[in-house]
């Protein structure tokens, strides 16, 4: 009996873990933009970084159900860690990434014990509070972080000593995209593993998850730490590719934006963060062109509308529509009616 169900779970998970054609096309397209849009590479670079940041938030919000208003703390810490390191002579980008990830992971691990206490509201406040404390430290410790002026004069060495960062952002985008892709593959592997499955059961019903023997707190600590490390890497990428770190990386705005990105793309499946990042940046770019100062208003409106319509219904409807039109094209109209469950 138990062997059967173990085999079942294994089969289901490995089926979910298979790469679909659409996914492969998605990444091929992302790679193609490197050559197709040579004049927008800096913009694409930002999309890749925000996408990675959103994926990291999705790991805790979408898969483990932890609401965070201060995820920017890890992003900012990563950015400052990479920036300060480079400024003091450790110019190798990959070492910078690793150390930024480690720093953010340590902070994530240490604060996870604070965050995991209490209800949603307490979590919100604690995450927000941690981000604010970091912001305050970065602001006051001007000798280290440059304070309100930002951290200037970062020069990053070529990657592997070969690929130099150029002003068009070719190397920057290729670098960010590669890192994002690799981390995405790991995250994807993680969420279709038994570990990911246990996270989802914790999200849906922590009490029951505990009752069937899942070590709830330990799992949450692990995923929170992993997510923090991801956010740290995203921050480090931003610092290295823009060669500048400002206080802005730790602002509340940053944490709120990434929530918005994730909501636009859809919570609880990894591509949501990436798609959300594309939509968000394009939207921001278009709106900022029309009203340079007041684009925030429209972003706010989008957010309100999404919530009023219901984010789940939003994405479910699109997928249902998609399945239905595919079915119709194949000459089998109205076969699919129920909203399918997203798996990756």
């Amino acid at each position: 009996m138990s062997d059967d169900s173990t085999a079942d779970v294994g089969a289901t998970l490995s089926r979910r873990g298979r790469w679909s054609l659409a996914e492969i096309l998605f990444w091929l397209f992302a790679l193609a933009t490197l050559f197709l849009l040579p004049e927008r590479l800096l913009f694409l670079n930002e999309i890749a970084i925000i996408g990675l940041f959103a994926v990291s938030l999705d790991l805790i919000l979408g898969y483990a159900g932890i609401i965070s208003l201060g995820h920017g703390a890890f992003f900012g810490l990563g950015a400052y860690a990479a920036g300060i390191l480079t400024k003091h002579g450790m110019g190798d980008p990959l070492i910078g990434l690793i150390i930024a990830a480690a720093a953010a992971a340590v902070l994530g691990f240490a604060t996870s014990f604070l965050v995991l206490r209490g209800a949603d509201l307490t979590k919100l406040m604690v995450t927000l509070g941690i981000a604010l404390v970091l912001h305050e430290i970065a602001n006051q410790a001007g000798w280290l972080t440059g304070g309100a002026d930002g951290l200037q004069g970062i020069t990053v060495n070529p990657i592997f000593g070969i690929f130099e960062f150029d002003i068009f952002g070719t190397t920057a985008y290729a670098y960010s995209l590669t890192v994002t892709f690799l981390l995405f593959v790991i995250a994807r592997r993680l969420v279709v593993s038994p570990f990911g499955l246990s996270l989802r059961s914790i999200r849906d019903n922590p009490l029951r998850a505990r009752a069937i023997g899942i070590p709830v707190n330990r799992r949450l600590v692990v995923i929170y730490t992993v997510s923090a490390a991801y956010a740290g890497v995203a921050g480090a990428l931003l610092a290295q590719t823009t060669q500048f770190v400002s206080l802005d990386v730790l602002s509340f705005q940053r944490s709120a934006d990434v929530l918005l990105v994730l909501v636009i793309g859809g919570i609880g499946y990894l591509y949501g963060g990436l798609i959300g990042a594309v939509v968000f940046k394009v939207l921001q770019d278009v709106l900022a062109d029309i009203t340079p100062q007041y684009w925030q208003f429209w972003i706010g409106l989008v957010l309100v509308v999404i919530v009023m319509v219901g984010p789940e219904r939003f994405t479910e409807r699109t997928t249902t529509l998609w399945r239905r039109s595919v079915a119709r094209l194949r000459g089998r109209p109205d076969k699919v009616t129920a909203a399918p469950v997203k798996e990756v």
Binding site: L114, L124, M125, G129, I130, L259, G300, V304, V307, M308
Partner: protein, 284 residues
């Protein structure tokens, strides 16, 4: 020393008036409303516009600063907030962040991004000596107004029929509904009332806290601290938390300016970790 204490108390009182509406929506109704500061900002701007453009005296603008945000609050509660009471906290957070963004940009668009200054009437300016302590007249005025409000609120909540119904509705919505209490109406009125109080706080605080389009974001954390640290089962919890926060903030900025707001955030984290239900509340 005593002057700092006095200023801190005035600041704390002000924070209480600003945040007590939130104590009800967030603390009692369990709705995460990050947009509370937007209502306060509305009150502040109403006062500023009435005074600077139409020459209305300061005191006469205060009723408008209460009624305006209360009406906005009522409309928003009926049209938008009411639908989100039963939704997840994530939705509430997103929704209210969206509202804040819209409010900030809209005010920036209509009023400009500069600080709004208001000219206090002469009888509220200056400081006087009371038993050797330099006391600001305006701050005394704030303490008086807010003190009266605190007593009134406490009385309303504990002594009136409305207060009893509100507490019943908050404790158990379904049972209250079953007993014939119009829960929706109570929530709507309470929300409007809280928004109105925030508006009053914004108007009174325009001189002390400063008023510009980023007001809701700048003070959001303070309101949240008041509610979470104070706990929300009574009026006294948030009130004591406001006083504590006000005094700590003023004293901190005076004695250890290099730490900035660091002290307060750390204090909040410690309280939240040790007593997630709030400093002055009993666990439910």
């Amino acid at each position: 020393m005593l002057t700092i204490l006095f200023d801190g108390i005035a600041y704390g009182m002000l924070l209480f008036v600003l945040a007590c509406g939130l104590a009800v929506t967030l603390g009692l109704m369990n709705f995460v409303n990050l947009a509370h500061g937007a209502f306060a900002m509305a009150g502040g701007y109403i006062t500023a516009v009435l005074m600077n453009r139409f020459g209305v005296p300061f005191l006469a603008t205060l009723p408008a600063a209460v009624i305006g945000p209360a009406l906005i609050g009522l409309v928003l509660e009926r049209t938008l907030y009411a639908r989100l009471y039963n939704r997840s906290h994530l939705h509430q957070v997103l929704f209210s962040i969206g509202l804040v963004f819209m409010a900030v940009a809209a005010v920036d668009y209509t009023m400009g991004s500069q600080q709004q200054l208001i000219q206090l009437p002469p009888w509220l300016q200056g400081r006087v000596d009371v038993f050797g302590v330099r006391v600001g007249l305006y701050r005394s005025f704030i303490i008086a107004v807010c003190g009266v409000l605190v007593v009134l609120l406490q009385l309303i909540l504990t002594q009136t029929r409305f207060g009893i119904r509100l507490r019943a509705a908050v404790d158990d919505q379904r049972v209250a509904d079953g007993l014939g209490i119009n829960v929706n109406l109570i929530f709507a009125v309470t929300f409007a009332f809280g928004s109105g109080l925030a508006g009053l706080g914004g108007a009174l605080g325009a001189e002390i806290l400063g008023l510009d389009p980023t007001f809701p974001l700048k003070f959001m954390i303070y309101f949240l601290i008041v509610v979470t640290v104070g706990g929300a089962t009574t009026i006294t919890g948030p009130f004591l938390a406001s006083l504590l926060l006000g005094i700590a903030d003023v004293a901190g900025k005076y004695y250890v300016p290099q730490f900035g707001a660091f002290v307060i955030y750390t204090f909040m984290l410690v309280v939240l970790v040790l007593r997630p239900q709030g400093l002055f509340a009993r666990a439910r």
